[in-house]
Symmetry: C3
Subunit: 273 residues, 3 copies
């Protein structure tokens, strides 16, 4: 059950090394604390190998990448691979600039990612590859809907098979799959898109979940997606007249802080394909 | 009417490229989402031209400038000029250090800014110029008050005429003017000064307003100033016993999220000189 | 009385130069405003000397150090020493990586710190020194408890004597001491550990307190620790059902905003040893 995955986070308090953007980093840290993990941030090349060595997993987010942090991503990723730590890639803005696309593709070439999490457009960009890298068929629409769900699930499984990573595509419908099995998740609220960084927050939290559930990566990744979506639903229910996206941000993190296994299991809306 | 300018933001959802400081960047992103825009942050020189190309406007804020981001500012600004995107300068701390003053002055030399927004001391610094750059007469007091309003309005119009930019000076009384016309705005609350980054937030929001109202830059800039000030008034009214500056920050962003054209038009306190 | 120290901050509005991490920097700024100070952030080597010159104190936090900001720390620290400004060191993660440990130790070698503030593990790391630097005896347990309080107080006094700095170790029991006198402080709530950056916030606030109370560093540092802890207690009392760590963060800063000398004196729980 998904609830067990959350309980394992609270029990194990996984330390997560985040190389992430400066826009949403504070929320990533507070979400990690809310779910029961513990955050460390470090992107300096000379620092990242030591830091990743004392952590349980590594979260690489390219949201505000720079020449120095890119070096840090490669060094930390390789060290984490060496130590068999789970590593997550959040390819923020892949497809929006050559540097982002190329960095994400090169990271995938040189580092083995346990999970890759992004929106459909970012994941499609990675699947198509860039430059000399050959991609997979990314003939999938720009949003996952009930109408194209079969094709989207197939795309997730194919890309997971090609990469050996769990693939998580988040949007109105969330897909989390490996080569054989795909969670189709319908938790969440459209208003979450009016808060900066719910995706980054999820990537941080997912890194804690996969660290605390090493034998169960797919389910752990799915559990973190359900936790985020359900927290969005609970947070929205607690909104008062006059509240807006800033208060909503707080309420979602608060809902994660208060989430327990029973609430998670009861509120989860998903099927497995 | 100012309300139309807000409606155009909500209708067009302008994508705003922000090269901004890491202190207030999360609030800038959430304010942009609250008003109906969409934020992207990128300061890496190799990344900024691609990112600015897909955006509707560019917001340059020198609050925590460094050698790399300064390069990014020039590259992005020139690219945005090339593409005729509106570009805003927020010269945070101009006058407080040689690097900030010189960077802001050089940016003004090499990039055409649609709007320059700062406090009176920063704008005076730019007007005086530095080094080899010749400035304009900045014989205006250190705060805009009713007593020196005529001189301040003249200063705004003169500096707007010299630079070809809309000039926005924010403080207890806000001035937003071009060479011929100056909005004198009296919305806002003194307590807004106890929150970090209300100026940065306004610059981000203003960048969305001028992007969504391309034929109406002056009015759009004024509308964003009124939106911020009025949100400060509404947020303050919603304060409860025990609330302080941290909650006030949330309430202001929430008030922007809930702002509509009617509320804006009704609450606006300004005259045009 | 500790309350006077807070009143002096509100009266003098000290400008604090922060070279701090991008994770918690926004909260540091808002806490500085909440207590009556005024924040400036700058880490670019070419910028820091000018900025520190116009400030009343300098807060160096190595939480997300990089090659450029490290240079900035040394330049700013030396300039602040030259100008006799109080300088605080927050050695975030000393002991967790060689770069952090070595940077903190080298900073201590080259810069005279008025206060060093960290958790017990960071301060022990500094006391032991690294590489060629000889440390002091750090035979103290990994958490300050009633059982080892005598040894911990002795450690604080010894390390203060060796360094000439006020030493502040924060945790369940907080110790703030110089070579002769040590405040043992029991304010605070364990739930504060579920918010990112309460330590960083305290370092920022402490920098304002020691700037505004130049003849009374030890008491000022202790007053800031009590202010933070008491705000944690008041903030917790204001929590509503459904609230979590994100709202708690706001409530603590709000409580600092509303703190007055009487509340502080009445709520302070400490003894001097």
């Amino acid at each position: 059950m998904l609830g067990n995955c959350l309980e394992n986070v609270r029990k194990n308090v996984p330390l997560v090394h985040n190389i992430t953007n400066y826009v949403t980093v504070n929320d990533v840290a507070n979400v990690l604390l809310a779910c029961g993990g513990s955050p460390i941030m470090s992107d300096e090349p000379e620092d990242v190998e030591d830091i990743t060595s004392i952590c349980g997993s590594l979260n690489i987010n390219i949201g505000t990448l720079n020449q120095s942090s890119i070096k840090g991503m490669f060094l930390a990723g390789k060290k984490a691979n060496e130590l068999n730590h789970p590593v997550l890639l959040d390819p923020v803005g892949a497809g929006a600039s050559a540097l982002r696309t190329n960095t994400a593709v090169k990271l995938m070439d040189e580092i083995k990612f346990t999970v890759i999490r992004g929106n459909i457009s970012e994941i499609k960009t990675l699947a198509l590859g860039s430059g000399t890298t050959k991609g997979v068929d990314a003939d999938v629409a720009d949003a996952v809907t009930d109408a194209n769900l079969d094709a989207a699930v197939k795309f997730v499984k194919d890309f997971a098979s090609k990469t050996g990573s769990v693939i998580a595509i988040t949007g109105a419908i969330d897909l989390v799959g490996d080569s054989e099995k795909c969670y189709v998740i319908r938790n969440g609220r459209p208003e979450m898109g009016k808060i900066t960084g719910t995706g980054c927050q999820l990537s941080g939290m997912m890194s804690a979940f996969i660290s605390a559930n090493p034998d169960n990566t797919l389910e752990a990744a799915a559990a973190s997606v359900v936790t985020m979506g359900l927290a969005g639903e609970i947070g929205w229910k607690n909104m008062q007249p006059g509240d807006g996206n800033s208060t909503y941000r707080n309420r979602i993190i608060d809902a994660i802080f208060n989430m327990d296994a029973e609430t998670l299991n009861k509120g989860a809306k998903y099927e497995v394909r």
